[in-house]
């Protein structure tokens, strides 16, 4: 059981969701974050004030999956988020100690496996 965190471009978020859906990965959290990887800064000008945008808008996916779903999830994130330019983002896979489905109290494997209907 792993927690897969993917930080991707906001404009690719929909492509990632599509790829995850096709990989039959269900159960996703998504949040808007700001971050800085290796990408060059964007320059913006507001009246006389020119600024370098040191932080770029990113979307962070958090997906808890059972072991056999780790690779498909990582593949889907890569497939959906890749443009080939600097700033495509990162994927982190973390060990996950416990998972509980609040509605039923199911734990671990049962909690990260989607229910039908």
């Amino acid at each position: 059981m792993k927690l897969v965190i993917g930080i991707v471009r906001p404009e690719k978020a929909n492509d990632v969701l599509e790829a995850l859906y096709r990989a039959e990965v269900r159960g996703v959290s998504m949040s808007r974050v700001q971050g800085h990887g290796g990408e060059l800064e964007r320059v913006e000008t507001y009246r006389g004030t020119t600024v370098k945008m040191g932080l770029a808008e990113k979307v962070r996916f958090e997906i808890a999956v059972s072991d056999e779903f780790v690779q498909p999830t990582v593949d889907a994130l890569c497939e959906g988020a890749r443009t080939g330019a600097v700033g495509d983002g990162k994927i982190f896979v973390l060990p996950l100690d416990r998972a509980v489905r609040i509605r039923t109290g199911e734990t671990d494997h049962g909690a990260v496996t989607p229910v039908d209907g």
Binding site: E11, N14, E41, V43, M53, G54
Partner: protein, 435 residues
């Protein structure tokens, strides 16, 4: 034919005062449209969408002063005016003809605001993917080749005006011209890359409502000023501008309830625009009672097109065709049915025994869409052969605001590093490679 007394060529201070105010009201409609449109797009394209309307003021005002006004209002040629007023020559403080009671300069300014908003309206078809530079070129040429020509036909003594086609405030040059040009523009520029694949939703419904409210407010100058005086037609048009949109709202509420069991806010904003457009050509010509009927019934075809269009492959993004083209078409024809000489002093419609009027109206309803669609289609094809019309897929994904304006609508400033110029010289800064 006219039962109204012929006025002597003299400035009327009351008329002039109202037309000064009306001109300002109509100019305000363009930023209001910018707000309306900006709310309907995704947040990453807010500024670009608004800026297309701002750009319409810049571009169309200049082309209008240089050549557009002259082509529309100099002389009474069938198809096009003359070059007598190029660069605003001979546009001064005297009334432009014997019927006018306001300075020529003010007449020109009032008409200029119409050209501006019409150019801005067309942008609704191509937002979220058209290159800003290409839009500026298109706006400049379109304002002369389409708007000025159709304004001449309907207002400037061209063939429609000569026939006696009634168009109070611009069903031909404003509403049908923008609506059917929008359809052509959407076809040439093509759909947004995510159209039909993802839900592309309005990002701020409050902007949409506020924009619609300000547009309605401005429309009192648009319709109320199109009589160019403070006489009966102007008062009638002004009051009808209150009645028709209100009735269109009622119809929209009912249709929304039938279709989705909820009355929607963006639907209401759309209904206000549709109502205002419906009464635009008819404002000074039909009775208040018929204006209400026009609002109730005229909203039906517009609603139908708005529901149908997103199911097609045509990404006419902000439904200019439905809200302006179809509504303008409906309004123009409606005059031919219910115009009453007792209310307008000019002509009756079919219901009052004058079938010829409906024929004149039908000609306008046929000719204006065909001309606007064809010329816009060819014009954009030609511009497209010279310069790219569309943003790259990458730029479209990132958004037009950052790509073309280097600004964001909802910037937080977090992580922004101030670039301080040294001794007044800009420090070179690294720019992200868009490749």
């Amino acid at each position: 034919m006219s039962e109204l007394p012929t006025l002597v060529a003299a400035i009327d201070t009351g008329d002039t005062a109202w037309m000064l105010a009306a001109t300002a009201l109509v100019l305000m409609m363009t930023p209001a449209l910018g707000l309306f449109y900006a709310g309907l797009v995704r947040s990453k394209n807010t500024l670009n969408t608004f800026m297309m309307c701002v750009a319409a003021i810049a571009v169309a005002m200049v082309t209008w002063a240089l050549v557009g006004y002259s082509l529309a209002f100099d002389g009474t040629g069938d198809l096009i005016g003359g070059f007598g007023h190029v660069g605003l020559q001979g546009v001064d403080f005297l009334p432009r003809n014997d019927e006018s009671t306001i300075p020529h300069l003010l007449f020109m300014a009032f008409q200029a605001t119409f050209c501006i908003i019409t150019v801005a309206l067309v942008s609704g078809a191509v937002v979220e993917r058209m290159r800003f530079g290409a839009f500026l070129v298109f706006a400049a040429l379109w304002s002369v080749l389409v708007y000025a020509v159709l304004a001449h036909w309907a207002f400037g003594g061209g063939w429609l005006a000569e026939r006696g086609t009634l168009d109070f405030a611009g069903g031909v040059p404003v509403e049908m011209a923008s609506g059917f040009s929008a359809l052509a523009a959407a076809l040439v520029v093509g759909a947004r890359k995510d159209y039909g694949r993802q839900a592309l939703l309005p990002h701020n419904a409050v902007y949409v409502l506020l924009g619609a409210g300000l547009l309605w407010f401005g429309w009192f100058g648009f319709n109320g000023g199109s009589g160019f005086n403070t006489g009966t037609n102007s008062v009638l048009a002004f009051t009808n501008t209150l009645l028709t949109p209100a009735c269109a709202l009622v119809t929209w509420f009912v249709l929304d309830l039938i279709r989705g069991r909820k009355v929607t806010a963006i639907g209401a904003a759309t209904a206000i625009i549709v109502g205002c457009v419906l009464i635009t050509p008819a404002g000074g010509f039909i009775s208040p009672g018929w204006a209400m009927v026009l609002g109730f019934l005229g909203a039906l075809p517009c609603y139908a097109v708005i529901v149908w269009r997103p199911r097609t492959r045509v990404d006419e993004t902000l439904d200019v065709l439905a809200a302006h083209g179809i509504a303008g078409f409906t309004g123009i024809l409606f005059i031919g049915l219910v115009a009453q000489i007792g209310w307008n002093g000019l002509a009756d419609g079919l219901f009052y025994g004058n079938a010829d009027q409906l024929l004149d109206q039908a000609l306008a309803a046929l000719a204006a869409p065909v001309y606007a669609f064809t010329v816009t289609f060819v014009l954009l094809k030609l511009i497209g052969a010279a310069i790219p019309l569309r943003a790259s897929e990458h730029d479209e994904a990132v958004g037009m605001d950052v790509t073309y304006h280097g600004e964001e609508a909802y910037v937080t400033g977090e992580g922004a590093i101030l670039v301080v110029p040294e001794d007044g010289i800009e420090v070179p800064v690294p720019v992200a490679d868009p490749g």
